[in-house]
């Protein structure tokens, strides 16, 4: 057994982006040390290793640093032995990367914008989010996971939906992924969050709620909830 340089993940337990990196490591079977970052008081270690974006996650592998969550996921897939995270076929890989990018730009962005706007603008962003989630859901196409029979790159990229969405719903008492609309996504979320490797690095709903409640975000989330109730 060859010895490999130590792996550390600088992150924050409540971040869905950090979870992507952690999930990749767990699914690949790579042992790592998790370094919790105080986002209000960023560490020298983090800033030195991510001077460009100054964000988590940051993966440290020996003296190497890798930043940006999806770049980290691909790095983990390529640098370590273990079950492959990306599909083998180039076209399937292109599709996986496409939908991962779509999640960040077309689902998360309008959702976050909905927190920051009001009235008609907010309704517009929420409508956009729901329409785009429906497009994502269609990619499941009856499969157990976006990656097929096992968890893969796209499941990891979309993992924010599996837990953080539920946090939002619990905090506001309103459903974004309402029962009738997104049955397939809900089924997928159950499958993903039940995966043994994933469970080891997935924060609990109460944990995440506690973190967001402690910050100013709670008020904005409530405002979104009100708008959503009016939409339904």
């Amino acid at each position: 057994m060859s010895s490999s340089p130590p792996v550390k993940l600088i992150g924050h337990f409540a971040s869905p982006f950090v979870h992507r990196a952690a999930a990749a490591l767990r699914l690949k079977g790579v042992p790592y040390e998790f370094i919790q970052e105080d986002l209000e008081n960023k560490s020298e270690l983090m800033l030195a290793n991510n001077p460009i974006h100054k964000k988590v996650p940051v993966l440290l592998h020996g003296d190497r640093a890798v930043c940006e969550s999806l770049v980290i996921v691909e790095y983990v897939d390529e640098a370590f032995d273990g079950p492959p995270l990306l599909p083998a076929d180039p076209y399937d890989r292109a599709m996986a990367r496409f939908w991962a990018h779509f999640m960040d730009t077309k689902c998360r962005t309008p959702l976050v914008l909905s927190f920051l706007t009001e009235g008609e603008q907010q309704e517009g962003f929420l409508k956009e989010t729901k329409e785009n989630l429906a497009l994502l859901e269609a990619q499941l196409d009856g499969k157990r996971f976006f990656g097929g029979d096992s968890v893969g790159y796209l499941d990891i990229a979309l993992s924010g939906m599996s837990r953080w969405m539920a946090v939002f719903e619990e905090m506001t008492g309103v459903s974004l992924l309402a029962d009738d609309d997104f049955a397939a996504l809900r089924r997928w979320a159950k499958e993903y969050t039940s995966n043994e490797a994933v469970m080891q690095c997935l924060p609990g709903i109460e944990q995440i709620k506690g973190h967001f409640s402690a910050t100013a975000k709670k008020d904005k989330v409530k405002a979104v909830a009100t708008a959503m109730q009016q939409q339904q």
Binding site: E74, Y75, H101, L135
Partner: protein
């Protein structure tokens, strides 16, 4: 007959002055893959049936169509081309860390360079100057990545070179529109641009600075 079939097997839907689309066309040329170039005029408001069919989600170009199947997203297309036509020299390096660095910096170009460039052309006065200062800062960061190597890919023209070089066709525009002396501001990058310009692919795909500036003035309705 076989050559003709191969020629229509790959299509790129793009507009001649689209920096993102140039990445796709550069990658195919570097790999010596023949392709059909179908032009989509971005000055026309409505997207064509072809674009709406092949990229219903974003209705954007470039789109690579290979054996009837679309691939969208310029960096996505470059990685796809690199993986499918894998016998020719690889655009992404073999080492996982180098691959991660190439992807990280290509993402940086998308997140930072394009945005600052757009703000430089669309804003006025102080905001315009601020956008250019930002843009030059980003380009200097990229110079630091390049160091004294011939290409971002090292000895070979690679993924990050493909991702960035299209933006060099706007440098003339920065000079004309913003009074920037690019040679003075980014001499290392300019040396790299000239080196890239020696490649047939780059000479064939990149439009002249004058043509790029002219059409961007039209898009941004400046001056």
């Amino acid at each position: 007959m076989a050559a003709a079939a191969a020629a229509v097997e790959v299509t790129v839907v793009d507009f001649w002055c689209n920096e993102f689309g140039m990445r796709a066309r550069l990658a195919l040329r570097e790999k010596r893959v023949p392709f059909e170039f179908v032009e989509e005029d971005l000055r026309v408001r409505e997207r064509s049936d072809l674009v709406r069919r092949m990229n219903p989600v974003h209705r954007a170009i470039p789109i690579l169509i290979h054996a009837g199947r679309p691939v969208c997203g310029s960096l996505n297309i470059v990685e796809y081309v690199d993986e499918v036509w894998s016998k020719t020299p690889r655009l992404l390096p073999a080492d996982p860390l180098e691959r991660a660095n190439a992807r990280f910096w290509a993402d940086f170009v998308d997140q930072k360079v394009y945005d600052a460039q757009a703000r430089f052309f669309t804003n006025r006065g102080e905001e315009k100057a601020a956008a250019m200062a930002e843009l030059l800062g980003h380009l200097r960061r990229l110079e630091a990545v390049l160091r004294d190597r011939p290409f971002f890919g090292g000895d070979e023209f690679g993924f990050l070179d493909v991702a960035l070089v299209p933006f060099s066709s706007m440098f003339y525009g920065y000079e004309r529109h913003g009074g920037v002396d690019m040679e003075a501001e980014c001499p290392v990058l300019l040396r790299w641009v000239r080196r890239c310009g020696e490649r047939v692919s780059v000479r064939d795909v990149l439009p002249s600075g004058q043509d790029m500036y002219a059409i961007h003035k039209e898009f941004y309705q400046t001056e």
